[in-house]
Amino acid sequence: MLALKGKVCLVTGGASGLGLEIIEQLLREEAVSVIFDIESEGFRALQNRPDLAVFKCDVTDEEQVANSIKAVTEQFGQIDVLVNNVGILYSAPLISFGGGGLKLHDSSEWQRVISTNLSSAFYMTKHAVQAMLTRRTKGVIVNITSISARGNAGQSAYSAAKAGLEALTKVWAKELPVFGIRCFAVAPGFCDTESTHVAVNETILQDTIKRVPLKRLGKTAEIAAFVVAGIKNDYLNGKVLEIDGGLVI
């Protein structure tokens, strides 16, 4: 089992929601906890925390990613764990008919969702793995996907991005073990986060809860505990761990 004490763990989008909960649990394991996030209320609130290293980095910009990873390795010597947690939920049908007539899925939203949820993880992993290789670190990559990767109606971009990330999980789980690096994904169902309440209309959310056999939303602490357990388990590689109260069985 991997002992996390003193290990350098980097979580993207760690300034709020699930990412912040993962960070808090890593801190309890005495890991050196590093966040990449963009300017936001959550980001500003963390600036004065002495137990955290918070880097301003838009993970959709490869140059910022490369520079920030370099800064982390200069400050802490290495990167042991990367959690690709940044993600934005976006729902829109491919085609719809409303009051204004025919409406097509906006292509710029498609690009934004793919870039934030998928390309970001590609850039982060590429540069983090380079840093791991340089120092011959036996690292762990975790991708946060979603049960939507199975293909949710009304979520072309989000589902495609998360399915892409699950494919990358499998590719990296085959490519990277030769260097002692493993990779797995955690796919949450619906969680009780601000982002869920903002993105999902209350009626749809209540209907969804009825479809969850456990009849409730997931808590970020439950998902984060799953992530941390996976990081510590040296035999976990290439799997997508779904945690959704039984919504998808």
Binding site: T134, R136, E175, V178, F179
Partner: protein
């Protein structure tokens, strides 16, 4: 310029032949210095990384990215291993 003893060079050569056989499927005794990725079907970029890790583990040294960049033929790999293991 470092001089490398004949016996250590031949030991290295034997160990490398074993690695070339295991990772690149080149039967022992048939590997020539001129062989490159283009000549060996199973030698792709992924196999190349496995080869590097196997060489590092076998010889107990770490290769830099610049050194890895020079490993374009079996002869270049042999030269690099001989120089590194003599250092």
């Amino acid at each position: 310029m470092q001089t490398v003893s004949n016996s250590s060079t031949s030991k290295n050569s034997e160990a490398l032949d074993e690695i070339f056989q295991e990772f690149l499927r080149i039967p022992k005794g048939t590997a020539t210095d001129a062989m490159t990725m283009e000549d060996v079907e199973s030698w792709d970029s992924l196999k190349h990384m496995e080869l590097i890790v196997a060489i590092e583990e076998r010889f107990g040294f770490q290769l830099t990215f610049d050194e890895i960049g020079t490993m374009q033929s079996l002869g270049a790999i042999r030269d690099l291993v001989n120089t590194k293991s003599a250092a």
